[in-house]
């Protein structure tokens, strides 16, 4: 899995490409930890090019969500492929993640929702 980062209006935007599974979960966790260590707590994941996620990847997502909340931050997701969205729905994780149809809509929400 490849992770690319850019920042926009105090939000760290990570684009994930490839598969989020057992082998890649720690890579994502390390990236998030590094962002939080630099006091950036608004993080958006663009999942447009994420082709696969399994339970290990979901576990990593839950882990980073908990870490971000510990830092009183916010995590948003967007652009999920239908198949990936289905995995979130089956596991009911769509109830605990903020999922937006597009990155643009997610970033707009940071302008209207105050940070915790």
């Amino acid at each position: 899995m490849e992770i690319s980062r850019r920042d926009e209006d105090m939000v760290a935007i990570l684009s994930l490409t490839g598969r989020l599974d057992l082998a890649n979960g720690n890579k994502l966790k390390d990236e998030i930890k590094s962002i939080l260590d630099n006091d950036v707590t608004a993080i958006h994941l663009c999942l447009k090019d994420l082709e696969f996620v399994n339970s290990s990847g979901l576990g990593a997502m839950v882990s980073i969500m908990k870490e971000i909340r510990l830092h009183r931050g916010r995590l948003t997701l967007s652009d999920m492929a239908d198949y990936v969205r289905e995995v979130f729905d089956i596991t009911q994780l769509s109830h605990i993640f903020e999922i937006f149809p597009s990155e643009e809509e997610a970033l707009r929400s940071y302008q209207t929702v105050p940070q915790a």
């Binding site: 057992l22 082998a23 290990s56 198949y83 596991t91 009911q92």
Partner: protein
């Protein structure tokens, strides 16, 4: 009917090889994309369990996958060399959405049409057998064709 057999060493990097092998097999056999995704996901969960819990990442132990594709269904056997309990019937019910693991068996049971666990006579390990009915995806195929 097509039967294909794969063998992997219990190494973390084998997960990637398995993913590519199964994806290619399903693509070569024109399996519906959503069904393919479900099969790969369910196999990925079974493979991770075999790798970590069954074979405990011991590279001397193998994971075998036998796939059979016919007109109506696809079956997959995932066999390890561990001592997992075939009597287990899935994850214990856990309503905590914030848990970081324990979703694999639930996904396997949801995505497959049928799943069974038994002791494999050859390896002595755990065998997970899943069946995926193509009929569940037929209507989607028809919609795409129209």
């Amino acid at each position: 009917m097509i039967t294909t057999k794969f063998r992997y060493n219990s190494l973390a990097e084998s997960e990637d090889t398995m993913y590519r092998d199964i994806k290619k097999l399903l693509l070569d056999n024109n399996i519906h994309p959503r069904l393919s995704f479900h099969i790969i996901l369910a196999l990925s969960e079974a493979f991770s369990n075999a790798l970590i819990h069954g074979n405990k990442l011991n590279p001397d132990r193998a994971i075998l996958i036998n796939m059979t594709i016919n007109n109506d269904e696809i079956t997959a056997d995932i066999i390890d060399e561990g001592c997992g309990d075939p009597k287990r019937s899935g994850d214990q019910i856990n309503c905590d959405l914030w848990r970081e693991n324990g979703r694999g068996l639930m996904l396997m049971e949801t995505l497959s049409s049928n799943i069974t666990y038994c002791r494999n006579d050859s390896t002595g390990g755990l065998q997970v057998s899943m069946r995926f009915d193509k009929s569940r995806y037929k209507m989607e195929e028809e919609k795409v064709e129209k």
